[in-house]
Symmetry: C2
Subunit: 642 residues, 2 copies
């Protein structure tokens, strides 16, 4: 017989009973409380701290808690077990903001020129008027339906599942032999279709036929709802991936997935997120999720594994192996999506553990697989993934750039939401700074684009040197010595929402340097691996939400992007979502993504000594080898001379 | 608020509470008692009679009950509703006998000459030794497995389901990259396979790979368990179809299937029967159902519909339409079979409501679709199905012959089980009779083969005339006048197990005449429809369990079979099971059955005036047109002359 204890959470209506040794996080779940664990419950982030106000607990770890905190009863919920009747106070959770970027991303998706759904859309709706059976024509119901369908849709063969077959006799007779079928042509060109729905009556030809394109980002999930007949986007929605409460990055989530029920929990969270978004987009388009017959899903390899509950632990550990890159077509019921149960769910293919469907979809939407021009495609997020090539060949790599440009690992870093400074300008005489804030309010912190600009401005004005050290001997109170070396004050406490100075420190600069160095070293190795000098690249296409806000000039100045004429750079926006949208609409594009995945040669950087050398060389502003950045060298010279 | 009453069944441990107006059968079910309803609860057969010893009930119908029965409280359970607290006595149910014919039917199935499973078996077991992943080889688990599989099995492509995909990483790593896959090549020739199982370790090449062939008869279900590597039958089992308690014939079962939960109940019963038999056959072969990877199922169209819970009511009513004849391939889990959950279940195709997979499988196993000889294939059961043709064309029809030859509709008729007289001889001088009984015991009744012989012997000895009337003026106490016209005593009461005279009556003879006339009329119309005289038929192949025991001479004498030399007749045994066995083993045979089904032209007799004419002409012994039966005419003449 095991002992059980009563746990009372201040924010739960009822106390819960749990066995001796239960983790506080598990007890909280039982009480209906989800305590945010951005590190995935590893006891690293300290975000799950709660206050035990009475009773006995045992702390396995107190990382990030001071002795004083512990004296006050604070404990890491993911590392503390219950050993008596206890009372727990849960501090207000950081509410995950719903930052609707719908208007931003929907405008990025445009209907492909000349889209003709009858020629390229695998989902088709075929109305059929059947002749009723008679003693002279005793054809079976299914054969009757099939014969009419093959003729009407010009098909070779058609299949049907048993559950749908069972419904045929009633539908045919109740509708007096006038029906509308919805079919899927998995391999559009082979003339074989799967019947996925049969509706009573003849549906009007111009009634919308719905599909959804989904981009599962580690941070944000986005959905566009599309009328497959016209290709038009009629609804959209975006919100944070609910998995975020179980780990901010893919590594934390993989760790969480290996815990008991962790994989199922993560699957539920992302499916819930997608279902919410589809429902929301459907409301905007005045339709229902059950009317959505096809969903094309893009996302990195970890997101795909977690969506399908495929064990992901081999992604995290050397030699970094996915279980699967090309996922078979599924139906919505199998996945738990709220769309039509027999609706097709097409998870786009990836290439490797850290080059997923988001990148193959990105390559498709960038068109780099179809151009003669030597192209570099770049998607910067937590990882920096990049692809070099053209229609003849494609090489790819991923560098664990770290999430510095997403605001993590930087003291006052934050995501690009309201209150984030997103652009800065420094006066080279006074070292004074002006900035722009998202939402035009008082600033809370610095988002990625601001960090790039800030670093570039500091370099150009001499506040930071090539080695990344902040000079605190300048004639300004903004550059000063802080507790961890030099720091520069971006905003004074009274100008902010947070009531303290917003600064950038030597430690922050070092983190940003590591990130940009990893990305630049990635280019170097990719180019080197195919024997092409970086400067021969004819266009640089930048995908990802982050990319859109990068100031090219500044990014070149800090050595994040290669030094080449600005007109060679293009920002493509959310290429992962765009690729999913194209694959949703056009069977040929769907096939093209598979071809892209097959064609891409993946280079593993962590096993490549060239990468370490290139990384070390890039750990300067902009680079140790200034000849790679001639225009920056020029600017620096002219600025310093004036 | 509805009134409820207490019902106490003598054989149930506890009384049950039911609402006013509940049928006794439903109350019994609630008490855990299954009252046999051979007519499907239509109130026609009288088999569900129970005795209400106290309390108020209302009888909707009292068919087959005498006024005296009713006075004693007897009531039809399927037609009587409860209107008060009642006590019910359930008479001992006819226990459905398990008549194991395993040894009989297993011997019929022989391994096809030159069977080479690597060339024709769609289920294959492929052991694979994979090279582990490394930083130099980061192929995904599935791609690694698939590449090795395609090479080892010489395939173009391979697919896998999500549930199996999820298991790959653990299996590969725990087995140290040595595994055995089981694949299914649905279209053997296209080089595409579905992985249906992955086992740890390398399985020995000669370890059996199991499949099952199933014949779902309306009465009996038979299973043979086959080692797919060699084709050998290693286990077999047969028992009554458990659906029989819900209706003896297909019509009664269809009616039952339209009642609330009726279809689900029938599905459960037949699935339970099949699972029992597979388990039994597996025990005999010292293996487990979960090791069975493929099941080929034959049976008539109603049996197939009920197995899959496909609404069957359109089969019963004009214009007699099936929902589907070609059922898609299913997996065992979908169907509820106890074999390997991803095991393939292949339901063979039929042609029409009353020409099902049992007949297409029969045609295959008869080989008539591959011969130059004009062949008549005949399967006599409750219906008489027949096929005429050769390799160039096939026509088919079904005549509702009625179940007279199965013992129904005949006063002392019974199935061919122990205690049944199965052969008789009548002395033409004394009109005395000798007989043979199955099991060498005292007789209980007459089975089909005995009825044919008896009718022929009575005709030849003048006990019955051409019109089917029993002559009761003969010098024998055996031929006498009974309550319904003439009758002939086959066994005296003291010679029997039943304590009464076993007789055949004018009514019985009339029923038998109808049956044989329907079958003969079937031939006539089939032959007529293609313009071929019946006598041009070069061989008559007779399938079905019943066929095996027919005495050709006698069957010709009564005009059941056409008058042609005996050497043209062949008895093939259970051709439905044989066909399923062949389809289980050989992909080409499976395809051939589909071709046979496509090729067969179905002629609906109930819409054909020629059938009524031919039927009327055949309502004599042997026929009105004696020129069709020259040898019988000859025998009759010579017998009467001596």
């Amino acid at each position: 017989m095991s002992t059980t204890y009563t746990v009372k959470f201040d924010i739960a209506p009822e106390p819960v009973e749990v066995p001796n040794g239960t983790l506080i996080t598990d007890a909280a779940l039982k009480a209906g409380i989800e305590i945010s664990q951005p590190c995935g419950g590893q006891g690293r982030c300290g975000q799950c701290a709660v206050q035990v106000t009475s009773g006995k607990v045992r702390r396995r770890s107190t990382v990030r808690l001071s002795a004083e905190d512990v004296a006050q009863g604070y404990a890491l919920a993911c590392q503390t077990v219950i050993e008596g009747d206890v009372t727990v106070v849960v501090p207000p959770q950081d509410k995950i903001q719903e930052h609707l970027t719908a208007s931003q991303f929907a405008s990025e998706v445009t209907v492909p020129r000349g889209y003709d759904y009858t020629k390229v859309q695998s989902i088709q709706r075929i109305p059929l008027t059947l002749s009723p059976p008679s003693m002279e024509d005793q054809t079976s119901d299914w054969a009757r339906l099939k014969t009419a369908l093959l003729k009407a849709a010009n098909l070779e063969d058609a299949h049907i599942s048993l559950p749908l077959l069972l419904k045929i006799p009633a539908i045919l007779r109740e509708s007096e032999w006038k029906i509308t079928t919805v079919i899927n042509r998995e391999n559009f060109s082979d003339g074989i279709a799967q019947v996925i729905d049969i509706q009573k009556g003849l549906t009007a030809e111009d009634k919308p036929l719905w599909g959804a394109a989904v981009d599962i980002g580690t941070t944000t999930v986005k959905v566009v709802l599309v009328n497959l007949l016209t290709g038009e986007v009629k609804g959209q929605a975006a919100e944070y991936n609910q998995q975020i409460a179980r780990g901010e990055d893919v590594i934390s989530r993989i760790i969480f997935s290996t815990k008991e029920n962790g994989a199922e929990k993560l699957r539920e969270l992302v499916v819930k997120t997608i279902n919410n978004l589809i429902a929301k987009a459907c409301r905007r388009a005045k339709t229902k999720p059950s009317q959505v017959y096809k969903t094309a899903i893009s996302g990195n390899s970890t997101m795909m594994h977690l969506l399908l509950k495929i064990p992901a632990s081999s992604i995290r550990l050397a030699p970094f192996i996915t279980v699967v890159n090309h996922i078979p077509s599924l139906d919505a019921a199998e996945l738990g999506l709220n769309t039509h149960p027999q609706g097709i769910v097409d998870c786009l293919p990836g290439v490797a553990s850290y080059v997923g469907a988001d990148i193959t979809a990105g390559v498709l939407s960038s068109g780099m697989d179809d151009t003669e021009k030597l192209t570099l495609f770049l998607d910067v997020g937590t990882n920096g993934e990049m692809v070099l090539g053209s229609k003849d060949w494609l090489v790819t790599c991923a560098c664990s750039a770290g999430p510095a440009f997403e605001g993590a690992g930087v003291l006052h870093g934050m995501r690009a939401t309201e209150g984030a400074i997103d652009e800065v300008w420094i006066n080279k005489e006074t070292y004074d700074i002006t900035w722009r804030v998202i939402g035009n309010e008082k600033p809370k912190g610095l988002c990625g684009s601001a960090l790039i600009s800030l670093l570039a401005e500091m370099l150009m004005t001499g506040i930071v040197n090539k080695g990344g050290n902040i000079c605190h001997s300048l004639n300004t109170p903004r550059a000063r010595k802080g507790s961890h070396g030099g720091e520069y004050v971006v905003a004074w406490a009274d100008e902010t929402q947070i009531g303290e100075d917003i600064v950038i420190t030597d430690v922050d600069v070092d983190n940003l340097l590591r990130t940009k160095a990893a990305i630049f070293a990635g280019f170097t190795v990719l180019a080197d691996s195919v024997g092409v000098p970086v400067e021969m690249v004819e266009q640089v296409l930048i995908g990802g939400g982050f990319g859109k806000f990068i100031n090219v000039e500044k990014a070149i100045q800090i050595g994040l992007l290669p030094d080449m004429p600005w007109e060679r750079f293009q920002f493509l926006g959310n290429t992962s979502l765009k690729g999913a949208y194209l694959a949703l609409l056009n069977y040929n594009d769907r096939k093209r993504i598979a071809d892209i995945a097959d064609k891409m040669t993946y280079i593993e950087l962590s096993a490549d000594n060239r990468f370490f050398d290139a990384f070390t060389s890039a750990m300067f502003l902009p680079h140790t080898n200034m000849s790679l950045f001639p225009t920056v060298e020029e600017s620096l010279k002219s600025l310093r001379e004036t």
